[in-house]
């Protein structure tokens, strides 16, 4: 499943491109069988903000880690200010005037701002630290770019937004004129984001260049002059910001590959299995992530939830599964109000959940395949008899599921971590399906899988629908959602922008909905 659009061809030869502060050409990076960056070519003009846009796992961060010397590319060339360079370590990158601000800050909370800034640098007047001189310089930089940081404050007393500014200060103090900001707004409040944008603007006004990594469309459109969209390790396109629209970008991010040929008969929907009413839930950072979501999911139908990653889909799924506190609203499962039920009770009441993060939620990687297949049922007969686990029954259960779902294992006593991603996903699918749930939440079930494995998962979910299960299919792969779903909802900024039948709407309109620019009245029920 690779985007149809090939990588953008390299432009004219780097010689004579005096405006480019950075050129990366044909950069390729593999991690085992995974190609994180596939012949990426990128040029950043001096004095501009260049945005790197893409879903999680699109390859943005790996590319920047290559630029910062944290990874070595398997192939490709880098020019900084028209000089061919090899960046073997962050030290090399800093020498070349590249500074990176990671998502996770690298500050020592107990130290002051100035101590953090000079940490790791050779003192200018050894053996003395001469913090006073550094303080003056920091105050100067801080004033120039409106950073407003007091160098004497201790970092642990600073807000997240201020800590980020200290990181920027650190880079500037080391002479950076190309700053890489990796998802800088993901930890910020809206007000802090505004302040950050002002800082970025004053940096650019001073001739510095910024690479702004994000998956948030609005931000990228506001702050950047050029946008490169990455998808599955490849470049989809590089466009001037003025020439693009939110819906174009959304479509480029989620792709348009039509690779599935999944046979599907019309749905025979029956009564409601899952009713979500005005559901609200907070993100891990305690910001509202799900802001009043309402829908009904019927037996025998697949309701797809499309949308760009990070618009509250994960929080919605976890809230329904009972893994995230609900701040308001209601969840009804087969007519029962389950909003305050613990996960166990919801599982028993017929809720199956295929989580997005296999390693974190879906599996215990150190457990055997057989153990993973009874993760939810081990305590009940026939797997526990008279107080003891029945290892033989557990193994037989695993053997039969391994056969039925064609899971490739050497043995059911193999650790789940040793399986390929596709087979791990099949283990999860087999476990969930074997409980014959009435409602299945499937979140990104094909992420990272090859076409064959993806098709298998989709077919099985359709088979579950035909059995009478209600399936909530959450994915950022638009084409997949359209292919599999009987109705499609689009989620943006924690809200549903509408629920429609996939044939009733154009891709352009879906793109607008994903960008939050179009809101439709929901289609009440299945066809």
């Amino acid at each position: 499943m690779i985007g149809r659009e090939g990588p953008v061809r390299p432009g004219p030869s780097p010689i004579g491109q005096a405006m480019d502060v950075l050129r990366m050409e044909e950069i390729t990076k593999r991690f085992g069988p995974v190609v994180a960056n596939d012949r990426i070519t990128l040029a950043v003009r001096a004095g501009t903000v260049h945005a790197l846009l893409g879903e999680n796992g699109a390859g943005k961060t790996s590319l920047m880690n290559i630029l910062y010397g944290l990874y070595q590319p398997d192939d490709g060339r880098i020019w900084v200010r028209d000089q061919p360079v090899r960046i073997r370590s962050p030290r090399d990158a800093i020498r070349l005037g590249i500074g990176m601000i990671h998502q996770q800050f690298t500050l020592v909370p107990q130290l002051t701002v100035v101590e953090n800034v000079v940490l790791g640098l050779r003192p200018r007047r050894p053996p003395f630290l001469d913090l006073a001189a550094a303080e003056d310089e920091i105050t100067g930089i801080s004033k120039t770019y409106g950073l407003d940081v007091n160098p004497r404050f201790r970092v642990m007393g600073l807000s997240v937004g201020m800590q980020q500014r200290v990181e920027i200060l650190k880079a500037l103090y080391r002479g950076a004129d190309l700053l890489i900001l990796d998802e800088p707004t993901s930890v910020l409040t809206p007000a802090e984001t505004e302040a950050l944008f002002e800082v970025i603007n004053s940096l650019v006004a001073d001739g510095k260049s910024v690479i702004f990594i994000s998956h948030k469309l609005e931000e990228v459109l506001r702050i950047s002059q050029a946008i490169t969209v990455l998808r599955r390790g490849r470049i989809v396109a590089t466009v001037p910001t003025t020439d693009t629209t939110p819906s174009d970008l959304a479509r480029m991010m989620v792709g348009r590959d039509v690779v599935f040929r999944v046979l599907k008969t019309p749905a025979h929907a029956a009564g409601p299995a899952l009713e979500v009413t005005d559901l609200r839930a907070a993100s891990d950072q305690s910001y509202p992530a799900v802001k009043g979501v309402t829908f009904r999911l019927f037996r025998g139908e697949i309701l797809g939830i499309a949308g760009v990653d990070g618009n509250g889909q994960a929080e919605l799924a976890e809230a329904i599964a009972g893994l995230r506190p609900v701040s308001a609203g209601q969840v009804r499962l087969n007519g029962l109000e389950v909003t305050s039920w613990p996960p166990k009770a919801r599982i028993t009441a017929g809720l199956g959940f295929i989580p997005a993060d296999r390693y974190r939620f879906g599996l215990v990687p150190d457990f055997t395949v057989a153990e993973n297949l009874v993760m939810k049922t081990f305590a009940a007969p026939p797997y526990t008899r008279r107080g003891f686990l029945d290892r033989r029954t557990i193994a037989e259960h695993a053997e039969s599921l391994v056969d039925q779902f064609d899971i490739r294992v050497h043995s059911v006593q193999q650790q789940a971590r040793e399986l390929s991603g596709g087979n791990q996903q099949k283990v999860i699918l087999a476990r969930e399906v074997s409980l014959t749930p009435t409602v299945i939440i499937a979140m990104q079930p094909t992420r990272g899988l090859d076409v064959g494995a993806s098709e298998y998962i989709l077919r099985e979910l359709i088979a579950q629908r035909d059995r009478g299960a209600a399936v909530l299919y959450i994915s950022t792969e638009l084409e997949e959602v359209i292919t599999i779903s009987d109705r499609v909802a689009v989620m943006f900024a924690g809200e549903l922008m509408g629920i429609i039948r996939p044939g009733d709407i154009s891709h352009a309109e879906l793109g607008l909905m994903m960008a939050g620019a179009l809101r439709l009245k929901p289609a009440a029920g299945p066809a």
Partner: protein, 363 residues
């Protein structure tokens, strides 16, 4: 099982062998032939009935407390507090032995042991609650509780529990009905070792063959997945920690009821700390813990003989013990790096049950 996984499973054995090998160097420094020193060490620990009895006596508290630390380990918890739990267990057993009178041994011994389990468990409950409610690392709290336990017992035996006229802080003797019987005549070896061995087997069966053990192991291996699967992670953490402390508390009871028959000030020479080593080297497996506890018991018992016959200081044994831990820790670090390079997971699995309530992964 491939050769590689087999080799990895035997890591603790390698670590001990390398430690013994390097320990020879220390023996050489003492000017002694290391082969002869080790021979005397082995002979002293195992060859005669007194040495063997001493080995059993030293093994017993290490085994109880080692099992305790191992149970916590399997639930993903680091219990550094076995020492304090030993003291509280010893205290509870002593109170029952001192103040409950007129019971037959068949009732008195189990009652005192039960009290010790409750005492040690209670000492571990507080850190477990602090971790769940406030996110305080149990490593710190259990460690600090050790000092409270040690000095609490010290204060009691210097004051209200002190035998009148005693030259040192210790309590009057327990009622003989609360003594653990001697199992090898004319030696100190007592029935504590038998109870510990039975509990090792019980712990093994519970961990590997019951749903409760499955739940504990799941919480230890991936708390997020456990929560997802419907397990009450908080409850599991509390139960595992209380059982962990309870087992360590039994180690204290066995010292008091089997060996000293009184409650002494500072009666444990650091068994609770050695138990951490025992549990780690035993890879958190109850039967592995039996092997490592016996090994360290034998080292301690043989070391005295070695010191007397060859003049090698007992400290060499502690150096060997330290080296074994160092080798194991180093080899585990290498092993994790192998997983990181070869595996698909770039991020370590969340280890804290506080995080486990169902949180999504940013990027």
């Amino acid at each position: 099982m491939t050769i590689r996984t087999a080799a990895l499973r035997l890591l603790p054995v390698w670590a001990v062998l390398f430690a013994l090998l390097l320990g020879m160097f220390f023996v050489l420094l003492a000017g002694v032939n290391p082969i002869e020193a080790y021979r005397d060490l082995l002979r002293g620990a195992l060859a005669d009935v007194f040495g063997f009895a001493t080995t059993l006596v030293k093994t017993t508290p290490l085994l109880f407390a080692g099992l305790g630390v191992a149970v916590a380990l399997r639930a993903g918890l680091i219990n550094i507090g076995a020492e304090g739990q030993i003291y509280l267990g010893g205290l509870a057993a002593a109170l029952v032995g001192l103040y409950v009178r007129g019971l037959p041994p068949l009732l008195h011994v189990p009652l005192a042991m039960l009290a010790a389990f409750v005492g040690g468990g209670a000492w571990a409950l507080l850190p477990a609650l602090l971790r769940l409610r406030r996110g305080v690392s149990e490593i710190i709290t259990t460690l600090l509780m050790n000092y409270i336990g040690l000095y609490f017992v010290g204060a009691l035996v210097s004051g209200p529990l002190k035998e009148p006229g005693a030259p040192y802080p210790f309590s009057p003797p327990l009622a003989p009905s609360a003594y653990l019987p001697t199992i090898i005549a004319t030696t100190d070896a007592h029935a504590g070792i038998l109870i510990a061995l039975v509990l090792a087997v019980v712990t093994y069966i519970v961990l590997e063959h019951t749903p409760a053990g499955f739940q504990v192991r799941m919480v230890g291996a991936n708390p997020s997945a456990a929560a997802y699967a419907g397990v009450n992670v908080g409850q599991t953490v509390i139960i595992a920690m209380v059982v962990s402390g309870g087992l360590a508390g039994l180690g204290g009871a066995s010292e008091v009821m089997g060996l000293k028959h009184r409650l002494f000030d500072a009666f444990s020479p650091g068994y609770g700390y050695d138990a951490i080593v025992v549990a780690f080297l035993g890879a958190g497996q109850p039967l592995g813990v039996v092997a490592t506890a016996f090994f360290f018991g034998a080292l301690r018992s043989g070391a005295n003989i070695m010191q007397r016959s060859q003049g090698v200081p007992v400290a060499v044994i502690f150096a060997i013990q330290g080296l074994a831990v160092l080798f194991l820790a180093a080899s585990l670090a290498v092993r994790h790096r192998i997983f990181r390079w070869g595996g698909r997971s770039r991020q370590p699995v969340a280890a804290s049950p506080a995080q486990a309530a169902g949180v999504s992964d940013p990027e």
